[in-house]
Symmetry: D2
Subunit: 339 residues, 4 copies
């Protein structure tokens, strides 16, 4: 198929590459002309702007007998930072779009924005598809795990794209009991439901990811702390975190890809001196907590994981000063200042 | 009555003072001779050591016809740091004690230590009473809220002491529905049960205290943060925490003594610049969590309050480095170091 | 002053009563004609609808020399369930309003709705004031603690109303260090800032309230559980929660109005058999968590308190089935079904 | 080697089988004679009691030239429920043991018990080794992931046993950067340190396991809840959890063995009707929290995971009644009883 890729950051560029490797034609555009030139040198069709993208897509594909430009709907994959840039770009594509065009948002968009956009675009005859992707920098090589929201016909129409972007079955053992089920899940992508559902599922995925990461983080903190001066001397163990992270990869219950990454990081540098303690969060963790609250689902762990990141990014909080002030008030406990 | 006070820190000294003001005789001892001298100048009977304390107590009280030293049991209140110092002192007092002596531990002892000690001392005919006290520096003036564990007869025998240390009814409105009930609770002290139960109740009191404090701390943090640069400019409020803490004291649902202290601290210095962000914890919070786990009672709030204090005392955690390392691993998110 | 009260539920009716007791004239309206008649029998001016409210308010007050109906701005206090009913009513009042009218929302409105409404109404020359009130059923007698958002001039203009609704200084000890400060806080109300800030402060108040309540709840759970069969027989205490809740009211650090209520409830029925375990939450707890996340402030305790309520309202969660299924998967631990 | 296996539950029996398959001789004993007979039919040497186990082990191995019974130290693996049964058995084995014997505790023992026992046994010349094993019912087939504590010489001496019980390298990709390191970790077992450290590492492993499980549980709860009547009709998605759990196995960041198990359970029955909502916990989660507190390490997620299990096992809590009683007190909110 022929598809436009707008946004050639690491994700957009690699998705375009994986599509080209699998025989698709990709029209590329980015504000950064160098990024466009690089992709062009790898075989992509360079575009000079959004209008040009649309124009180039409306031309019949190579080797296909043309039957009138206007009859060919443009498929445009937007891979930009969520929020303003994505919103603005989609609005422009919609303005220049023609009936039947398909706009794919592959970024980290808030799913309620998808729902809204799909409704607006539908009124103009333009289709909207949201794709939540997991896999990060590893996607080019391993394939992208994709959660897709949109109209059934449209998602089916795009199947040649999704099927090559996905990891495929690979060597991962099959789950028993899936006979007769949609095999796309086994090949690494699903049609989750209507517009917004793709990003919703991806959002919860990230919420879980935070929880998993925090569980490991606390565990390793406790292992490390077993040698801390907070403990009486006779009660300490000086544990080898490099070997522990490795052995857990092998037959234990906590085996996971995140543990693989941890073992790898520790093997390179067991003190992790290269890493800081300020931990960022993208919006998905927060949105997951909001979704939990809307549904009245208790989500202690996912929320605590998010808060641990907030706390990691400040020296101290005003709340802690409040605590110190109270303690001083009732007991004359004078807290020393942090410095 | 005549009572020995061992340990003349702020708590011990003030308890001794309050007892003397109410007509009791107090034999005092502390490793710090100056502390003993000060109390002696205020009317206390100075002792030179533990043995001397016991000796002086065995003498008949003023105005009481003596009927043999050995017949007068010594009442000894130990007010020392929990753990080693208290343990050691009680062991020594027990060794020199005689049948019928009463040892009171008024410190912050772990209740399981009380249970153990009471059993050991009982075998020697010595009575053990544990007194959890709340009220801190305010106790001399306001009276001490006391939670007492021990044998019924012994606690009753000591009532002249407890009744004057307690705040009394004061002007606090009475709770309806208490007719016919033990009025000691209304006067500010209770006999909670057998040895250990006094400190157990006090321990849970402190666990609750941590939770209450953290609830206010988080609330004020959110009020303060409403003016933070994390928010878009149009969505900020610059709130007056001094006035907010004051107004909540007046008819709101969150009125409390801890709020009074907070309002007072903020009125003195609304930025709390004098206070640091390192917040200590005494053992009680941890013991409360242990008790919750033994009972299989979920205690999310009390535990999170304790953990917030742990986190306040370090620059960053190894767990946070683990998070950063994982993020780097899957996404190439490079976390900058903290400094 | 003359004021319209729209919504005569417990809160609206009692606010109207307290205003009338203090010499204000109140025009009342409610969909329930009986509620209107009741208030009329107590001296209020009955209205038959929103338009009638506005009309009656435009008439000069008793004992005031009229200077033309149209010159008297109407002050209308809306005291309805937040969301639809309030939104709809304010829209209607705005449509019939005239330049200079003041609309007060005294309900539990989400503060962002206040911000939006204030902006819309301002364009029409109508003033909007949001009043967060705490004090519940006790307000008629004790006065209402009020947190007010709106334009300074308008809030000042309404001072005769707020000053009588507030509790006043009463017998609550004054906080030192407030000399020279706005004394409204000491009398139980504050002007928190622009529109929305009143409800924002009230919202955080409720968030704190949840945290405080949960801290006590967990503490009493642990006290109660100390006699549970989860513990070895020798490690149990059968504690008297009635006396404990009472004694803590007297000189302890955890003294509060919420504790007063707890002591009162336990004195009536120490097993609390009259009460269920399903605990509702109004929106404020959730909004407080959302605010914390927007500001990137960790709020472990306030959030856990909210989640404990969510969990209290269901028999079991799907998440728990997921846990059971995993346990079965890796260990053959068969979890019995709940019934 | 020749080894005694005491306790032929699922774990003990399978470990014995895996040892025999790899050429070791195993003397077996269990209170259940049938269990012994079964193992004997599979090639094990049956024993009639602890003394018999020790006796049979002291005999020279098959094919080994005997050089006096007394010179061959017995290796005895105890695989019994932690606590009483294990404690009692080890005490008996120690009493009948001879200098140089090795007692292995492969159960879920609290690591402080290991430390204590090792010290006691050392005084008698008996070696103590603690082995934490993960892998559960899958171990016979996949091998056991083992974390071992004890003296270096002794652990090295037992290597022929551990190396065959472990999974071995298998097809799991190697972690880069481990060149020159102890390769036992890659083969699925480690010597963690002195006695107790094996169970300590295993304990933290289980603490992490709880956190990971809860993260998934909450995530799936939120996915499921997206179709709940708590949401407005237009905001629901009816998501296919079977396919979501499958697709996440393929290239996503949350890939793990626990997710494999979840996908498998959901594929069999997407409503998980066979599973209840009461979730048990073994002691390790609690001990991990205790360890965190001893070290002053915040462990929000691991603890919340444990508490979620506590809450899952009761209909309601007394704390929730306290909340309801308070709400009634301040607002007249009458909570209906649960049934």
């Amino acid at each position: 198929m022929k598809l436009g890729m707008i946004g050639l950051g690491r994700m957009g560029a690699n998705i375009a590459r994986r599509l080209m490797r699998n025989g698709h034609e990709v029209v590329v555009y980015d504000r950064d002309a160098d990024a466009v030139a690089t992709m062009a040198s790898e075989g992509a069709i360079p575009a000079t702007g959004l209008y040009d993208v649309h124009n180039l897509l409306a031309q019949p594909s190579k080797g296909v007998l043309g039957f009138g430009k206007s009859q060919q709907p443009a498929i445009m994959w937007v891979m930009l930072p969520a929020g303003g840039p994505t919103e603005q770009t989609i609005a422009e594509l919609a303005d220049m779009g023609t009936r039947g065009d398909i706009i794919i948002d592959g970024g980290n968009t808030f799913y309620k924005d998808d729902v809204r956009r799909a409704k607006t675009l539908k009124a103009r005859g333009i289709h909207y598809v949201d794709v939540g992707t997991s896999g990060g920098v590893w996607g080019l090589e391993r394939g992208y795990c994709m959660m897709i929201g949109g109209e059934k016909d449209v998602v089916d129409h795009l199947d040649p794209i999704f099927s090559v972007l996905a990891p495929g079955m690979g060597e991962i053992p099959r789950t028993t009991g899936r006979q007769g089920r949609d095999d796309r899940a086994e090949r690494g992508y699903i049609h989750a439901g209507p517009a917004g559902s793709g990003h919703f599922v991806k959002m919860v995925h990230n919420g879980i990811e935070y929880g998993l990461m925090q569980a490991y983080a606390e565990g390793f903190d406790i292992l490390k702390g077993k040698n801390s001066p907070n403990l009486p001397e006779g009660e300490r163990f000086d544990l080898d975190l490099v070997d522990i992270s490795e052995v857990w990869r092998r037959g234990s219950v906590v085996t996971s890809w995140l543990l693989d990454l941890t073992a790898s990081a520790l093997a390179r540098d067991e003190k992790l001196d290269a890493f800081g303690t300020h931990v960022s969060d993208s919006g998905e963790g927060q949105w997951t907590v909001e979704a939990a609250m809307e549904e009245k689902v208790p989500a202690h762990v996912l929320t605590a994981s998010l808060y641990a990141r907030y706390r990691s990014r400040v020296e101290g909080t005003f709340g802690e000063k409040i605590l110190s002030a109270m303690r001083f008030g009732f007991g004359g406990h004078v807290e020393t200042t942090k410095k």
